[in-house]
Amino acid sequence: MKPIYSSAKEAVANIQDGATLMVGGFGLVGIPEQLILALVEKNVKELTVISNNCGVDEWGLGLLLKNKQIKKMIGSYVGENKEFERQVLSGEIEVELTPQGTLAEKIRAGGAGIPAFFTPAGVGTIVAEGKEIREFGGKEYVLEESLRADFALVRAAKADKFGNLIYNKTAQNFNPMMAAAGRFTIAEVEEIVETGDLDPAMIHTPSIYVQGLLQADQEKRIERLTLSSGGSNPAG
């Protein structure tokens, strides 16, 4: 029922210069790898990107950054990327840093038709500067507005042909809210199954939020491999 693209190139064909994109993932986990590569290939410019992080220097959104395709980045933590630092310091990129929970809720609100909400995060800090502060029950909250995007690029483990999605473990992260907040949502999935093969009680993203599907293998690069024995970190 939903278009299944034959290539990542075809999937991103309608994304033009100046578009606002939401891109799923936390770190490198749950990022739509192949759609990002296709955007690099397409060399679409002046993008506003809403994503928790901005990839690393050689993978994920870091590739768009390196190729100078991002005009503005909205995220919560962008510290894994030297090129990002260079572009910020040289004024080549505009950055809007948002507390992670506020970012998640702004996106959730966008998809849910809630234009604004009050949250405690950021009250009394530079995040709340210029924003309305109001007291409820003796505690101060800041008014935050919702986010939507022209396109949401998400990654899931499985989709059926209706477009229902199921995510793997912590690869869920921002993907479900972005699927809902994108005006046109493209899901890059590891496997497309027949409609009816997924348990309706176990759907993470109902098909109504998905406008197109791409089946693609995933590299799933690991940012910090930590092992319980022989690993570099003492925890565990």
Binding site: F26, G27, L28, V29, N52, G75, S76, Y77, V78, G79, E80, E85, V88, L89, V95, L97, P99, Q100, G101, T102, L103, A104, E105, I107, R108, T119, P120, A121, G122, V123, G124, T125, I126, V127, A157, Y167, N168, K169, T170, Q172, N173, F174, N175, P176, M177, H204, K220, I222, E223, R224, L225, T226, L227, S228, G230, G231, N233, P234, A235, G236
Partner: protein, 219 residues
């Protein structure tokens, strides 16, 4: 006291603030170490703000799943009874005061419990991640950090000089030298650790400390 001992002492003392049955969020860095010292007598469920309740140990090589990480982006496992969810649900959990304890790192804490732990002016701003949400959500916010900065200057101050993460959010400070409670009337020195005197703590703390019932020689 070596770096490892400092971190271990802080982590061990922080662990004592966790009760059986608690849901706990451990921040990135030193707070993550607290997990290593959780008593076998306690059932503690660790929350990871990227969407996991029930973090397990780091995986053995054959158990690594690239799709399973903690908020520090380290590969982890999950325990029986764990649950995965999206980031909005994760922060609903945090913001809605469901997490019992959050243990976070700090750069500075003020007399009123203000916390600064996310940016140093003049340096590249990497972002606050989930810290600004966490400090408003968990029922108990514990800051663990070195008592003084590398240059010897105080980190527990009258007012924070660095940009804030949250205002009036800290409940407890644990360093390698002392345990300090944030109370409505100010910072109260509760415990002084072995190797330090009450006067040492007062001297290395810019904020005024209430000194009433202090336990000394804690190890």
């Amino acid at each position: 006291m070596g770096e490892v001992n400092v971190r271990e002492r802080i982590a061990r003392r922080a662990e004592k603030e966790i009760e059986d049955g608690d849901y706990v969020n451990l921040g990135i860095g030193m707070p993550t170490l607290v997990a290593n010292y959780i008593s076998a007598n306690k059932t503690v469920v660790l929350q990871s703000e990227n969407g996991l309740l029930g973090i397990g140990p780091y995986p053995t090589k054959d158990k690594v799943d690239p799709d399973l990480i903690n908020a520090g982006k380290e590969t982890v496992t999950s325990i029986p009874g764990s649950a995965y969810f999206n980031s909005a649900e994760s922060f609903a959990m945090i913001r809605g005061e469901h997490v019992d304890v959050a243990i976070l790192g700090g750069m500075e804490v003020s007399e009123k419990g203000d916390l600064a732990n996310w940016m140093i002016p003049g340096k590249m701003i990497k972002g606050m991640g989930g810290a600004m949400d966490l400090v408003h959500g968990a029922k108990k916010i514990i800051i663990i950090m070195d008592h003084v900065a590398k240059d010897g200057s105080a980190k527990i101050k009258k007012e924070c000089s660095l940009p804030l993460t949250g205002k009036g959010v800290v409940h407890k400070i644990i360093t390698e030298r002392a345990l300090i409670d944030v109370t409505p009337t100010g910072l109260e020195l509760k415990e002084v650790f072995d190797g330090f005197t009450i006067q040492d703590i007062i001297d290395s703390t810019e904020a005024t400390l209430i000194v009433k019932d202090v336990i000394e020689g804690v190890n």
